[in-house]
């Protein structure tokens, strides 16, 4: 996370070898990125661009998803299965034969994601995946990332979407001016006023509410609606407490 220009996209481009370090080194799965090609890294690292139009090019959605699988040499049966799976996962089955460019912005984002997920990379990098997505799709994405993570995949999400991160509560690496200024859990980072200020972010909605209630002794590190409700009800029903966190 971090402001525009903080270096987030620049950093993750190193993980797929699109950029090579000027100093120091980047190891992906133990291998120095300077010693392998992008194509070799691509087998392990799936990268979904911020602007889907920068990576979509096929005549149909199906072809778009098939492309990498064919390049990697999967057999036809596996290709068919993977394509069906990816399209179904991203609610794109009805657009199988459509041109990606006829789809809406949010739909094109899903096509790009499907085309990368299809070959099941070990590491998945999503650059601003929630932009232009509606609430339902974001929720699907959230569940899906958690699922991938549970399967042992590494997922790196570059995002501005504070609410999305507040809901996922992952590890947050916060950048500002090309440097990492924090590397901690989401709850710590998103509720820290100094970090928020330094990185030009905005705290999550619920945190903003509780920052203003801090004078009454409410904790500040509140992220979710239900914990917020619980805290307010406790105060109302329990009388005056002095909970200072």
């Amino acid at each position: 996370m971090g402001q525009n220009g903080a270096g987030k996209t620049t950093l993750v481009k190193h993980f797929i070898g699109l950029l090579k370090p000027t100093r120091g080194r980047v190891l992906v799965d133990g291998v120095d990125t300077r010693t392998v090609s992008v194509a070799q890294l691509a087998r392990k690292v799936g990268f979904v661009f911020q602007n889907p139009d920068h990576q979509l090019f096929s005549e149909t959605v199906e072809e778009e998803v098939v492309f990498a699988l064919r390049n990697f040499g999967f057999d036809e049966k596996t290709i068919r299965e993977r394509v069906d799976w990816a399209l179904n996962l991203l609610d794109l089955t009805e657009y199988r034969k459509s041109s990606p460019f006829m789809l809406s912005g949010g739909e094109r984002k899903r096509v790009a994601l499907a085309s990368v997920l299809a070959w099941d990379p070990k590491i998945l990098i999503l650059d601003e995946p929630t932009i232009g997505q509606d609430a339902y799709q974001k929720e699907r994405l959230r569940h899906f990332i958690i699922q991938l993570n549970q399967q042992g995949k590494t997922v790196i999400v570059v995002t501005h979407d504070i609410e999305f991160i507040a809901e996922c509560e992952p590890r947050v690496v916060l950048m500002a001016n090309g440097k990492i200024i924090a590397d901690r859990g989401a709850r710590e980072v998103l509720t820290d006023p100094a970090l928020i200020k330094e990185s030009s972010l905005v705290p999550p909605e619920i945190t903003q509410v509780f920052i203003r209630l801090n004078d009454l002794g409410f904790p500040r590190k509140v992220l979710g609606v239900y914990e917020a409700k619980r805290l307010i009800l406790e105060r109302l029903r329990g009388g005056l407490h002095n909970e200072r966190t």
Binding site: N51, S104, L201, V209, R212, L216, V225, L233, L236
Partner: protein
């Protein structure tokens, strides 16, 4: 008088099997700030394209019903004429930026209108400053980041000072703080210049506080149309899958536990005030 009117509007893209928007009826009065939202593919962008004549003049297809903008029937007037009244900021700024410098891009529309040189100069400088990109004026738009490009697109439309500005997810590439600043600016301009604003946005938490009206679409139709609080509290909004702001969800969660904040909050500031109010009255 309504600055934008749609009656029985149905539109089918070329080669499409079903309409992208169906039986849309709406009237937008001058000076309104309308938040247009709905799930992906619901027809928001399609509807916006009808407001400046891109539909049907650029996209072709089949349009039924009518759209009247600033008194002009869109099927009978070319896009360049309608563009004087309705400025549009596209979802993807790359689709509307083309000049060699930011300044030239922002000036383009004004030059086409044949305005005097110093008027163009004034408006361009104003638009660049108001969107916070004055220092970028000599840069090439295609070299800028997505967020910077969005500001250029907004500036180029603002410079034209049309009666209506349509912004299709104009801050999607911007970080939250910058997004807030831009929306705040647009809102201020609406107040100062009386511009009508139509904002397409998924992130209702950012935009709800500025809108006097929210229109929710789903599968090509308008499902809800009204004052923000009324729309947010309507049961149908949850069925559509629109992302309610967290403060609204908190209001609803508390209500279910018999705690009434009194009013549905449209911002964290409002929410904390209402909560404080309830806590104080409980004590006293």
């Amino acid at each position: 008088m309504a600055i934008i009117e749609a009656r029985g509007l149905t539109y089918i893209y070329p080669f499409a099997e079903k309409p992208a928007i169906e039986d849309v009826n709406l009237a937008i009065e001058e000076g309104e700030f309308v938040l247009l939202t709905g799930p992906s593919g619901c027809g928001k962008t399609t509807l916006c394209r009808c407001f400046n004549g891109l539909i049907p003049h650029f996209y072709g297809g089949r349009l039924e019903g009518e759209v009247i903008v600033a008194g002009l029937r869109t099927t009978e007037h070319p896009t360049y004429e309608l563009a004087k009244h309705v400025g549009m900021v596209f979802q993807n700024p790359e689709n509307q930026l083309f000049a060699l410098t930011v300044e030239k891009d922002v000036a383009f529309g004004l030059e086409n209108l044949g305005l005097p040189r110093d008027e163009i100069r004034r408006r361009v400088d104003w638009a660049l400053k108001v969107t916070g990109i004055y220092e970028l004026r000599d840069r090439a738009p295609f070299e800028l980041s997505g967020g910077q490009q969005q500001r250029v697109a907004i500036a180029s439309v603002l410079a034209m000072q049309p009666e209506v500005i349509v912004l299709d997810e104009p801050t999607s590439f911007l970080d939250p703080l910058s997004a807030r600043t831009i929306l705040e600016t647009v809102h201020q301009l609406k107040r100062e210049l009386g511009i009508t604003v139509i904002l397409v946005e998924h992130r209702l938490d950012l935009a709800a506080r500025y809108a006097n009206r929210i229109i929710v679409m789903d599968r090509g139709r308008i499902i809800l149309d009204g004052e923000p609080r009324r729309v947010f509290l309507d049961d149908r909004v949850r069925l559509v899958g629109v992302g309610l702001p967290k403060v609204i969800r908190l209001y609803l969660a508390l209500k279910r536990d018999e705690v009434d904040l009194g009013r549905a909050p449209l911002s964290p500031e409002e929410a904390s005030e209402l909560i404080l109010g309830v806590l104080k009255s409980d004590r006293g």
